[in-house]
Subunit: 358 residues, 2 copies
């Protein structure tokens, strides 16, 4: 009996949220993008220092393109005080797709992030006019009432405010992790969409309690939240599409120590399409989804087409073919250099399906 | 201006929940008990293998007493199928104080724990008759609806059932972490009490997200839950008393790695009284508590007298004197042997108050 998705052919994946880093980490990671089935990726700007000028963004794109000519790199700027309406006009001309906003302090390299959206309204107005995307890391910083558990929920009124004040601005609520975020995205007009990662389709809070390798921001939430994400991914609603938020860190940074906290982020790039299919299959096994609902149209929509449509990019002409579940092993470590630095991918050592390019 | 609690004299602390381990770890830990201000401790039985016989328990007590003659070690057995009503009768005669119950699989060395309380009703009936204590690790194992976040709440109906069925059995809900647990303990008769740790008076979920050194079971919950714990500790209600749940692990075990999860548990033994006072002071600074309410009677009650009373032990004739806040530094590491094994204590490297014995 063939396993679920065995022999499935899908258009190449659009990964609408990737961290490709710089230097040797970039070299190691970029080479894995096509292994994970993507031929187009939307690149996060939170390098150190962040990408805040058109020039730095184009230089970064050139480096990425030189490393991997067979992937299209869509680029973003980092929302901060250096961004002016003039930079937005210039960015549009240069083919930059959008602007990523990090509330200050909530995740990796977010120290330069946003404290008050109102002060950015002239920039957002220019983005709306130029039709650039706004990508939101949708969490409020922790405070007396806000923790990592309700930080996304606490941010949803801000999403609503931005949509109300800029109704034609295309907004992506990145890496939705809660049923409430899914409902909020659904409740707004067609200019608001949401991405869902591979790992949040699998993880709940228990998985990162005491396991820093499953720790990311936003943190994985409750079983009910995971169910809502699985259902959104399998719904065919074009508001929801895949963005891996694949975030490489060295094993040392992920592990932390008695003097430093663990880095937030989960590395899924080399197996991101495979992980989504595994999570959907698992959802069927748990009775959350059913196999009949996971049609080619649904899968191609979530993994490739909804995102390209929202990003106003052409559909892919390349196709993938998926192998049977459990037929390859995910490595424990992916080397970054020849010495001590390596990345431990999500579900390290476990089995997944193979993926080929047609 | 003297800092809060500077020069305060208190009766020696009763720490109603300690993990003293075995071997070299035991030797390192037992020597720190008096540093933390306790002259009486209630010792957990979750060694490897667990303490399930009177003979093993008395041997363990002798080892502890030999290491530290100036501390009274109250002993417990581990609830499992090896415990029979006859063992309970024998335990009472031998001066063993109680029986600790771990639901199977919820924390360190709990693999032999309880899956179904009803099967232990003959043992609980014997405990009620012999007046032995029942100490509950009050969490349900994770399931489709239960995570580390609501595992304690999910256990509260079991606490209610046990109290209803054994109204004269003295029950301690160990390490309360939620407002709901505090309310449940309050709602039952005087045979039900609850302990509160030092670290849960300080921590919330954000503190262990990405920091395995702040990870323990039950996990620290929300800011509102921490507030409820601080208020219970400062309430003077004799149902609530201190139990540190100090749980030493090597830094390697706490840190985890890409192939092993982090061990649950926080080590507070050498500074446990100091940490409670620091947490109460912090609660005053945050406006949760006020200084006037923290009378000598309240502090002596929570740290020493309520627990001894519930355990039917004499009050201490020894007294402590506390120094000013911030006047000593908590070490980064406490050595276990002369080579590679060390424990990183809670709030390592930070400052606390000194403590002397009068």
């Amino acid at each position: 009996m063939p396993s679920m998705f065995e022999g499935l052919q899908l258009p190449a994946t659009f990964d609408a949220h990737v961290h490709l880093r710089s230097g040797i980490m970039m070299e190691a990671v970029v080479s894995t993008i096509r292994d994970g089935g993507a031929d187009m990726v939307y690149v996060m700007p939170n390098l150190v220092p962040p990408i805040t000028t058109v020039e730095a963004c184009l230089e970064y794109r050139q480096k990425l393109q030189d490393l991997e000519p067979n992937v299209t790199f869509l680029m973003s700027l980092y929302l901060c005080s250096a961004l002016t309406p003039n930079v937005i006009v210039e960015a549009k001309k240069a083919g930059i797709k959008g602007v990523k906003s990090y509330p200050a302090g909530v995740t990796t390299n977010s120290d330069s992030g946003v404290l008050d959206y109102k002060s950015f309204y002239p920039v957002l107005a220019a983005m709306e006019k130029e039709d650039l995307l706004l990508n939101l890391h949708g969490e409020c910083p922790s405070s007396a009432d806000v923790t990592v558990l309700n930080a996304e929920e606490a941010f949803l009124p801000t999403l609503g405010m931005l949509h109300r004040d800029f109704p034609n601005l295309r907004i992506v609520l990145e890496h939705c992790t809660t049923a409430k975020a899914i409902e909020a995205v659904k409740s707004y007009g067609p200019t608001v969409s949401g991405t869902i990662t591979a790992h949040h389709l699998s993880l709940i809070v228990d998985d990162w309690a005491g396991d820093s390798f499953n720790y990311c921001k936003p943190v994985a939430k409750t079983p009910q939240d995971r169910i809502a994400l699985l259902k959104a991914a399998a719904s065919g609603d074009p508001k929801f599409f895949f963005g891996s938020d694949s975030a490489p860190h060295s094993t040392q940074a992920k592990q932390g120590s008695h003097i430093s906290k663990a880095a937030a982020g989960i590395f899924t790039q080399p197996i991101c399409t495979q992980l989504v299919l595994d999570a959907l299959e698992q959802g069927c096994q748990e009775g959350i989804l059913n196999e009949e609902q996971l049609t080619h149209k649904i899968l191609a929509g979530f993994l490739s087409e909804h995102g390209r449509h929202f990003y106003q990019e052409p559909m892919s002409s390349s196709h993938l073919i998926l192998g049977a579940g459990q037929n390859i092993q995910i490595p424990d470590l992916i080397p970054v250099d020849n010495r001590m630095v390596a990345i431990a991918p999500f579900r390290k050592g476990q089995r997944t399906r193979s993926l080929g390019w047609l």
